[in-house]
Symmetry: D2
Subunit: 357 residues, 4 copies
């Protein structure tokens, strides 16, 4: 049995963790904590969970976190940027494990974080101890570890879509462009004018236009990792363009990845290469060029589906890769990482198909 | 007064032409013809037009086309690929003008058309006589002409979004990538499994993956035109990647254009450059980097709105450009072209704002 | 020429008035006033209006309202409940006309308003002087008047859908049930959790469940008017059930009206009766039973479309009636009323078809 | 272990049965049969099921049905109206059980079926042997039986929403009106013009207007059952109005039920009455008047959620009841019935929460 608690209770990711954990044969929720909604039943904020959990939301205090940590094996944390170390220290001191769903401990070089997140990092040492883990890419690093940085949604879809091609060594440096699209759950649950249905429906736009999105360096770090660069020397990494957009839909991320290669491939070669690379990965599905993947195929799941293609006219790899941003892009991968560090099969509780349509 | 007829009556583009022409002070509809829906009132297929037009759909026969042409000044044609010349000849023989909304006469070199459309061209001579016209780019070519190729939706949004930057001469050859997204009206009105709401809603995917979409050479031809290449020598043109996707919305195209430049720009410089380039163009709106354009801002109109930006880390121009695919991308531009060749102000009947929200 | 001003600038109704007035050959905007967004361009809040209006939003002060009124013929007011009289008095004192889009002056008996709106009415006298006007129902009352109460969206669709049947005298008292559905623009533009796309999309629910919606007595007053009851004696009116729901769409109201009749009709008889009743009404469209009306047929317009039917098994009239809630349900009808009281044809600027699809 | 087969493979209901059965600890799929898609993998039609099932679709022949029945305990059937008996006979002859998802065997009096479905019933005897079963209403009838008529989607939501109030005996005869709304999955998977996203999105309309929908007599039969009428004497039943509408969403049914009662209730009394009536029903959730249920709360599940209220002004009960039309409205209830007749807990494999948002 895995006893777990969640810091950050009312957002979509916590709701999705709790939804998925209903079917997890080992999981047992201890506590949920937040500074918002204190005293409310979980179902007051996650109406679909009515009848599935008895807990009420506890106030996010050091005392309550300590008490929760003591009864838990793992604590999942989702709090605003810069606030993770405060709570993580308490959990680690209690000898328990952490999955951090935010970005505080995702970068090996704390300077990268400080530059892109515009803050002084509250605990650089903690970031050095943390392990960033997309299991399909670097699960070996995470085994037995206690402090896991759960990857961002866009970097997950992009890194998985790039990995087999990157490993060939034939992608030309500085040619990678990632055109990304996300449903509105990726923008969080706080009401704002641009998110209300009347403004968002039947509408589509770019945001963070021109290179400013914070997931850019996270993807660059992953590329550096996959191409053998020193993660502590970001000056040796290559630059990419990562350009996100907002889709008028609830869930789903699609990234279209472009990269020039220094040799040509057929679509069939790429399909074979990708299929082989992921043949032992239960959560990755590779499709041939005739079947561009759709976000709905992975709706509400921990799957990543992708279609790699090649345009010989331009010598460019073009890969489309989809995940559910709060599934594999957040809650699903957090559970997968929890399974991984607790030593049970990664697929535990996660092998269910998408709801379609 | 401009008397006009439409060949192709039941699709979305004809419906939009008729909707927009309600407010056109000069236009007078003569006939609508189609081989489908013959004998039906227009409102049987375009319910919103009830009470606005009396005509019934006439059978698409040579005799009826001839009669319609004789009473019209202009005929708008939208028929399947390869069928335009048959009807166009009748109209031209009657001494009347044509706006062809399809692709039959868009390419100067008929070989380009034959390669990408996979057919023998039925009348290469006609294609040489035709004038392809995005008015903001090449209106001088069209003045007084009788045979106009109305541009494709994606090429319109892309060409307008690229033009000012292309004209600097600083875009590096073969670095242009266009990631395009379109609402479902772009896929036509014929029912198909992938278009029904249950499959399309809350879903997003690429299509024509890896370089095969027919709008690719049309954009390449436009780039060749803007960079002074010989349109009859496609072997001298540069290659681009044009990758389309389907948005779960009714109308709207967004293209995100990436291009490496051999000198750097600030966002402000680009904003000034684009604003100046389009200062006399009533249908083009340029926004600063802080305001990425939204498809809804141009919903149902003949406007094209765009936000140019630059990423100095990668030396790439990133432009987002939006149109309504059946507005400026089809019906609106057809009316603009009709105004142009009939010698009245291009804006006639087209200066109305988008419905928002 | 009609010079007009608008109090209440940033909401959807003002945006729609300004959008529709672009095509109005007589209208000239003087000022827009609000206590929010002061100093902003109109297009800062209504992006689709960029290039169409130069005015900036003026602060909503007595001095500014007086100045605006002096240069205007009509002032359209949309402010929170209970605040109309303060501004209306200034306009009336300046000898100008008012269209109030809210509910402050909709009831002849101020007690009805006070009961349903839960406030003391700030100026009962003003409410007696006001004229409530759905032009198709009571235009004679409004001619030449200065203080017009523009009807609510649901009451407009319902009253028009009921009128011909009510006038037969064969509807059995206390049997009317109105099941109403509205798009989210009906809920205003202020962000709230239940309105964000992620919560609202792919979702449907009732609200104000069990009889509490404020449009109930407005519909009852209209029924009383149509059946010859004394509007100052609400104790003599019949009760209805009016039950609203929220549709996952931007615009559009549909009401399904049920009423027992004391004699039977065929669908054809009803179609003939309704068609005749509205034969001179350019904004009302009647359809036969085989064509249930769709909200999209009237999208963005001032039309009301309806399909009356009869179920002989239950002796019930069943009418479906649709409008655009911010078209005929608010802005369109306000312009129609403005035309009416200014003595120009009601259709001026309003005879344009819906955007479809 | 329950071995099951499915006749009718490519529709949404079969896809949903297979999706839900992934988590069912006892279920084992034997065969899927259809006359369409023969030879295809299941995932060719249900992309989200890739990797979960190995079977290919077998041709729907008598021989194949016999073979499937012999290896199965239960066969779920979904075929066009009137075709059930042909296949059911084979299954029954093999001594196996049937869940029919269509309407062929839902009526005790075959004349009712013949009148509303406009056909001669192919096997009246079979219809007499069948048991119609909403488990929460009449599970006792189904225990141990072999031929189960799975209820329609609308009748399920309506009957559950009415049951507690009907059982009081205080609902006045012939006053029940059901205003129903369904997502597009309720209209099946066959492409049609009115279903494509461009026509259906941002649109809402009634259909089968004026009393003609086939679910009307099914609801009337259920009311007759609950009020002790003789199901073989439809002339003694009361008439209702059941009026359906199409929602621009994928899944979800909401019914708003109106009924006059001969005594008054408070909302609290109704909430208590309904809560008590369903206290032992794991799939029914009752909410107080302040919380009108939302279709999304039961998205993809076997739950039915409802909010009963009372309007004392009109003496009417107003209940809103929601289900997922292909969950509790089809596939979920079919599995619940399968569990029931196979003697395992009804909740087996079905106690999972909705995906939200």
């Amino acid at each position: 049995m895995i006893r777990y608690s969640a810091i950050g209770a009312v957002g979509y990711v916590c709701g999705e963790v709790l939804r998925m954990m209903v079917a997890h044969p080992e999981g047992k929720l201890v506590s949920v904590l937040d500074s918002y909604g204190v005293g409310d039943k979980i179902s007051a904020h996650h109406p679909a969970l009515r009848g599935f959990y008895d807990q009420v939301i506890q106030d996010l205090t050091e005392e309550n976190v300590r008490a929760a940590a003591e009864e838990s094996d793992v604590v999942l944390i989702q709090v605003p940027s810069g606030e993770v170390p405060r709570w993580a220290k308490i959990v680690l001191d209690a000898g328990k494990k952490i999955i951090d769903i935010g970005a505080d401990i995702r970068f090996r070089d704390v300077n990268v974080w400080e530059k892109w997140y515009g803050q002084k990092h509250p605990d650089p040492q903690m970031t050095h101890e943390a392990v960033y883990c997309i299991p399909e890419v670097m699960r070996e690093l995470a085994k037995g570890k206690s402090l896991i940085a759960n990857p961002g949604c866009y970097p997950t879809a992009t890194t998985l879509g790039l990995m087999p091609a990157l490993k060939t060594g034939h992608i030309v440096e500085n040619t990678i462009i990632v055109d990304a699209k996300s449903g509105y759950t990726g923008a969080g649950r706080r009401p704002a004018l641009n998110k209300i249905l009347t403004e968002a429906e039947n509408n589509f736009c770019a945001y963070a236009l021109g290179g400013g999105h914070r997931h850019t360096p996270e993807i660059e770090q992953n590329i550096a990792y996959l191409t053998g660069k020193d993660l502590m020397k970001p000056e040796t990494w290559q630059f990419i363009n990562f350009q996100p957009h907002l889709l008028p839909q609830v869930r789903g991320i699609e990234v279209t990845i472009y990269a020039t290669m220094d040799r040509d491939y057929t679509n069939d070669e790429l399909y074979a290469m990708y299929s082989e690379a992921y043949q032992d990965e239960p959560f990755v599905q590779v499709y041939p060029a005739s079947q561009p993947v759709q976000t709905k195929w992975v709706y509400g799941t921990n799957f990543c589906a992708m279609t790699p293609t090649f345009d010989k006219r331009t010598h460019r790899l073009i890969v489309t890769s989809v995940i559910d941003n709060i599934g594999k892009g957040a809650a699903g991968q957090a559970i997968q990482n929890m399974n991984l560090i607790m030593g049970i099969p990664e697929t535990t509780g996660l092998m269910f198909p998408a709801m379609y349509p």
